[in-house]
Each structure stands twice: as C-alpha cells, then as structure tokens.
C-alpha cells in the first residue's frame, strides 16, 4: 500500500469511527453487557437455593429475576423514585421521593470518584499508554493526602480558614505522589522499553503492600484494630452539602471533578502539549518525525495520568473516609471501564462515570433487595470492556440486520480496524 493510499485508509477509518459511531458502540456494548449479565443472573439463580422462585421461564423456576434485579438497581441508585414492590408493569411514583436522598448521594459519590480515575486512564490511553496502574497511584496518593492532612492540621487554625488552606494543599500532595508513582512506569517505558501494562500491574501490588506497611508499622491509628490512619479533623475534610450525612458525597468535589474534565479537555485538544500527547498515541512515527520528544512525552503523560489518579485517592480520603484505610476499593480498575466506555474522551467520562456510579451504588440495593451479590458489578465491568473492544462485532451485527452494502468497505479497508486508535 502506498503512502497516499495509507493516508486515505487512515482518514476513511477515522471518519468511519466518528463520534456518533463511538457513542452507538458504547451504548450497544452496554446493552450487550446488561443482557449477558441477565443470563448470568438467571444461571446463578439456578445455583443458589431459595424458598420460592422469583421468576419462572419455560417452566423452570429461577431464584433471581434479572428484570427485577435491574429495576431494583436503578431504583436504588436514584433513591427509590418508584415503588417497585407494587404489582403491574408500570410502577407508581414514590410520593416521598426527594432528589437529595441517601441512595442518590451514594451514586454521585461513586460518580465523582470515577470521574477522577476515568480521566486518569483516559489521559494515558490517549497517549497510547495502557496505564493499568491508576489503582496503585490512587492508593499512594490517598495515603499521602491522609498523612499530610493529619500532620499539618495541628499547625493551622481549625475551621473554615484552615480548611480552605489545607484541603487544596492536601489534594496537591496526593496528586504529586500519584504523579511521581505514575512517572515510574513512564520512565521504564521510555528509557528501558518495559511494557507499561505489566509494570503498572506490578506497581499496583507493590503500592498496596508499601501503603500497608507504612500504615501498619509507622503511621497507624494506635486506637484502632484496623490498618488505618488516625482520622483527619472534620474541618479539613470535604463535608456533605445539602445531601444526607451518611452518603459521603460533597457537591464541591463533584464540581472540582467537572472543572478538571474541562481542564483535561483543554489540555488535550487546545494546547501543543496535548497535540504531542495525542499524536504520540495515534501515530508514534509521525510524532517522532514531527519533532516530538517521545520519551519526555511518555513520562509527562504518565505523570499527568498518575496525578489524576492520586487526586482520586485524595478525594476518596477527604470526602469518603476522612482517613486512609487498607482495602482501598477498586476505583482504579473501574476507571478503565469508564474511560473505555467514554471512548477516552474527557467529556465522555462524565456520563460513563455517572452510569457506572449508578451500577455500583445500585448494586448495594440489589444485594439487599434481591440477594444477588454486589460483585455482579465486577462482572459487568469486564463485559462492558469486552464489548466496547469489538466494534467489528456490532458492525457485522448491523450489516446482517439491515443488509446494507457496506460490507465492501469493511473488507477492503484491510489491516487493523476498530480499536486500533485507542
């Protein structure tokens, strides 16, 4: 294939995978994941034992009813706007529903955290780097924030003034530590050609162990049986505004996350650094010819990605826990799903995070209401990634259903299709 033809093929592919198609693929992937998830729910309903069948299909009783599970999930995530227990297909509205409720606060809490980890993954994926290490960067960033806040808090006036000084500083510390930890695999990739998928996964294990040792041996809370740091004073944490206390959601953190979305978009799309980052992700050779210092871009992109992950950890500590505690939830891995679902687009991260936040928060209601384990979300996480990874599947599905003659373009295009621009 000549260079001109090559360029044409690239262009054709880019237009083919337009924004609309991206969104369609994400939706289709979501629907497929939900359908496969429903089958898994049905099957696991045969494995478990129950008194009365929740649903009966083809004369066989099942303990779990997938439709009910998904209904309870969304209803729980929104704080029960519908009375799902009432009979009939159309459920009546709950007269006592209030948007500022506990369930919705949980959803927004998860959404906020996922915006940070989703952005972290998106930045690295756009640079062509598979940063699987957001989890480790989040663990260490969060720990740094917790320790910094704990040690600096006594030096500052307590109350609003202290909070205004300490909280931003603590977030910066978390970002720095997460960024530096992210720069390690970046440097290993740039200067030793070490595959970042493996190094970041190894660094996740190492981060969890290091944080555990630091807290259990040196900085632990002496009054606690659990491996955790001493709680930060309330005035130095992000307290819930308007939403109920137990929901651990602060609208300030969400606003900060949304501002970061705009900032990351601006950085990626409107600055020369962002251009370098994207070209080294999409066409590394072209970037090199164009005079981009590939090694430096790699390290900087990974620093940036790690810093966003570290900020996620900082928000987790300041908004949710008020301290660092061992057994950090898998927010970093969920960030991979969020970013992939968002097509690695910063603006796409927001709806993807909201959707995945709904799944996570609703899964608690599901476990409580129907008995289906909340680990279901873990399964959906993987399924979504799997289906988004194969746009070709949906193209083939589409072409067999509407039988449009676009098969020709698919075949003549040749080479690498679909996910290769991620």
């Amino acid at each position: 294939m000549s260079a001109a033809e090559n360029a044409k093929a690239v262009l054709r592919r880019l237009t083919a995978a337009s924004a609309t198609e991206r969104i369609l693929i994400s939706f289709a992937a979501l629907i497929m994941a939900v359908l496969v998830g429903a089958v898994i729910i049905l099957v696991s309903g045969r494995i478990t034992t129950c008194q009365t069948a929740a649903t009966t299909l083809f004369g066989t009783g099942f303990c779990y009813d997938p439709v009910e599970v998904y209904l309870v999930l969304f209803n729980g995530a929104l704080g029960e706007p519908f009375l799902v227990n009432s009979p009939g297909i159309l459920k009546p509205l709950n007269p006592n529903w209030n948007p500022l409720n506990f369930g919705f606060a949980l959803t927004l809490k998860e959404t906020t955290l996922l915006i940070f980890t989703g952005l972290s993954v998106a930045v690295s994926f756009r640079a062509g780097l598979f940063n699987i290490g957001t989890q480790g960067q989040l663990i260490l960033g969060g720990l740094a924030t917790a320790l910094f806040s704990f040690f600096v808090a006594p030096l500052l006036p307590s109350g609003l003034v202290g909070g205004l000084i300490l909280i931003p500083l603590a977030i910066v510390v978390g970002a720095l530590v997460g960024g530096l930890y992210g720069a390690i695999p970046g440097a290993l990739k740039a200067y030793a050609d070490a595959n970042e998928v493996i190094t970041t996964i190894m660094l996740n294990f190492i981060a969890a162990q290091i944080a555990f040792v630091l807290v259990s041996e040196f900085y632990g809370n002496p009054d606690s049986q659990v491996v955790e740091t001493t709680p930060i004073p309330d005035w130095a944490t992000l307290l819930p505004v308007a939403f109920p206390q137990g929901g651990d959601f602060s609208i300030l953190a969400l606003a900060f996350g949304l501002a970061l979305v705009v900032a990351v978009w601006f950085l990626l799309e409107q600055t020369s650094f962002g251009y370098d980052l994207r070209t080294s992700g999409e066409q590394p050779e072209a970037a090199e010819y164009g005079g981009v210092d590939a090694k430096r871009t790699t390290v900087t992109s990974m620093f940036l990605s790690g810093a966003l992950g570290g900020m996620g950890g900082a928000i987790w500590v300041l908004m949710v826990m008020g301290k660092w505690q061992a057994g950090v939830p898998a927010l970093g891995f969920d960030g991979i799903t969020v970013s992939i679902l968002a097509g690695n687009n910063p603006f796409g991260v927001v709806p993807a995070a909201l959707l995945f936040g709904t799944l996570k928060s609703g899964s608690l209601a599901v476990q409580f209401g129907t008995g289906v384990p909340k680990q279901l979300v873990g399964v959906l996480r993987g399924l979504i990634i799997l289906f988004v990874a194969m746009p070709e599947f949906f193209r083939m599905l589409g072409s067999t259903i509407d039988l449009e003659p676009d098969r020709e373009t698919v075949a003549t295009d040749g080479g690498r299709l679909g996910g290769d621009d991620e």
Partner: protein, 367 residues
C-alpha cells in the same frame, strides 16, 4: 531490518540474559560465602533457607501456575495473539476446579475418577472456553488484543467471587478437605535436597513433562513451525496455503489449556479458592508474561524464569517465619514483584514476534 542487525540484536540479547543469569548466580554465591563464613548471622539464615529441601519443593509447587501460564502465553503470542488475559484464565480455572469438585462431592468417585480430578479437568475446560471466547473476539471480531485481554482478566476477576458468593455466601470457597496430594517415587525421593523432585504434587510432574514437550512442539514439529510463522510472517504462511486464523485459534486455545492446568493445580493444591482482592492468583498470570519475555519465548527459559520468581516467593515465605527480623512481612512480600519489575526493565527490549498484536486479514475473509 537487515540480517546483520538482527544478528547483533540477538547477540546483545543473549549476552544480556547471560549477564542477568550470571548476576543471579553470583548473588547466590555471595550469600553462600557469607553464610558459610558467618553461620549465625542473617546470611546463615538465608543460606539455610535457600538450600533447604522444603524451599525447593515449595518453589517447585509455586512455579506450576506461573510456568503453565507462561507456556500458554508463548504459544499464543508466537502465533500472533498477545494474551494479556492469562491472569483471568488462571482465576477462572482455579475457581471452576474447586467448585466442580465441591458439587460432585470431594470424596466421590465417578467412573473410577476421583472428584478432585474431575474438578481438575473441569478447570481446564473452563479456561479453554474462556480462551475460545478471547480468540473469537480477537480473531473473528478484530478486537484490540490488549483491551480484550484486560476484559478477560476483569471478567474472571468479577465472575469468580460473584459465583463463590452465590454458592457459598462469601468470596472464598469452603475448604474441600482434600487436595491433589503428592506422588512419591520410592528410593529417588530419599535423595537429600533433590529428592524434592520425586516427592511432589502431581502437577509438578506434569510441569516437568510439559516444559520439554512444549519446546519440542514449538521447535521440532510442523505445527510449531506454523505457529511461529503465523506470528512472524503470516503472509508467507498464507501464501503456502495454511489458514493463519486456524493456527492462531489453535495457539490461543492451547494457551487456555495450559493456563487451565496451572489454575486447577493452584487451587486444588490448596483445596480451596480464595477470592479476596486480586484472588489467590494474585498476579501470577502477569508474572508469567514477564517470565516468558525473560526466557525469550523459549519454554525452557520461561521455566527457568518462572522457577526463579517462584523460588523468590518460596524464600520470601520462609523468611517470614524466621524470627528476629525488623523487616515487615508485607515488605518482604513485594520482593517477587520488585524483581519482576527489575527484570522487565532490564530485558524490556525483547524482540516480540513481528506480527504479534496485529490482526491478519486473509483477503477472502468476506464471510
């Protein structure tokens, strides 16, 4: 790339690996010297740990899942499909093996086969089915291999604890109360130290057979030639009339089979599946990838690297039991991961198969 550059590359790679192996050996010799000179010091303890028969036997046992996953990874990647999902294959087979044994009944025997062996084969089957899914997604639907591999890992990481919770009410399975046990070869097992090779888990013997067998298949058979060509130069393979897709399917399914043996052996060796956090597999699938990169896609080299990582793990576990150290256990536990990282940084410039990671279009793929 001209032949001379390739030769030079190969030379530097070889000397690189030789240096590393030599380095590992000299560290060992240094510990031995220090240990002999100061038997009551920390070095004496190290030496005692490294030369004890129980460390060797636990290193062999620990290297089983890593080695099998690495062998699988070699077949898949040599055929041109980068299988990052090995970790997921280990998780799913480890879980399926235990739950099948539990459902059949640990003490039952079906057609002369003890339940634990039925579980063993069920574990392998589950891994093969998962790898088949991965293969279809990558080869038929042209998915990005890295992302699809991540999906396989994350699905298994979600599915195993989910199913365990459905069945047992918690992410860990109950203990079966039985394991694969050990096969002891009389007389030979009485040899000091090396007797550990003849008094081991059945899976250890399987591993010792599978490593040379994989080497033979890969380097001395027509199938092995096709696998290598499919990863290096699929077009040439296509030209001589061999179906590239079929070779790739075979490579990926073989990786599922081998990883399945490793996963089943891992959980049935313990008699339980542990589903906390990263599950009992705990990164072994990713360590396996580094092991075969370190071994330069040679099954025997990959086994050597797996054995090195497993040996570190075994030594690390023993080290925790030695009283009187100020080093916290969790820090010692990072040793294998840090080593993997260092090794990867040093041998990062491995020459991967030319066409690995790329989709190959036969041109008549217009079905």
């Amino acid at each position: 790339m001209s032949t001379t550059t390739i030769d030079r590359l190969r030379d530097t790679e070889l000397s690189y690996r030789a240096t590393l192996a030599g380095g590992a050996l000299s560290v060992f010799l240094l510990i031995a010297l220090l240990g002999l000179a100061f038997p009551s010091s920390i070095w004496g303890n190290f030496l005692a740990i490294l030369t004890s028969r129980s460390t060797l036997s636990s290193a062999l046992r620990l290297s089983v899942p890593i080695t099998f996953a690495a062998l699988g990874g070699i077949f898949s990647e040599k055929a041109g499909v980068v299988n990052i999902g090995l970790e997921g294959l280990l998780i799913i087979s480890a879980f399926t093996a235990v739950i099948t044994t539990a459902v059949v009944g640990p003490e039952m025997t079906v057609v002369g086969l003890p339940a634990i062996w039925i579980g063993f084969f069920a574990g392998i089957l589950s891994s093969v089915l998962f790898s088949a899914l991965f293969a279809v997604v990558c080869i038929r639907f042209k998915a990005d291999q890295i992302i699809a591999g991540l999906a396989v890992w994350l699905i298994a990481l979600g599915l195993a604890p989910f199913a365990a919770t459905v069945y047992y009410g918690g992410v860990n399975t109950d203990n079966l109360g039985t394991t694969l046990g050990t096969w002891t070869i009389p007389v030979l097992s009485d040899i000091p130290f090396f007797g550990a090779f003849f008094d081991a888990d059945p899976a250890v013997y399987m591993m010792l057979v599978a490593v040379p067998a994989s080497w033979y298949v890969l380097n001395r058979t027509a199938f092995g030639r096709h696998v290598r060509a499919s990863g290096e130069n699929p077009k040439a393979l296509d030209t001589v009339g061999v179906d590239v897709s079929r070779v790739r399917y075979a490579g990926v399914l073989l990786s599922g089979f081998l990883a399945g043996v490793g996963g089943s052996a891992l959980s049935l060796g313990l008699g339980q599946f542990v589903g906390n956090n990263q599950t009992m597999v705990n990164g072994k699938g990713f360590i396996a990838i580094v092991a075969y990169l370190f071994g330069n896609y040679n099954p025997i080299g990959a086994f050597g690297a797996s054995f090195l990582f497993a040996g570190l793990e075994a030594a690390q576990i023993r080290l925790q039991q030695v009283p009187g150290y100020a080093i916290p256990d969790s820090l010692i536990q990072t040793i294998p991961y840090v080593t993997v990282l260092v090794v990867l940084a040093l041998v990062g410039r491995t020459r991967i198969p030319e066409a690995a990671g790329e989709h190959y279009d036969t041109g008549d793929d217009n079905r």
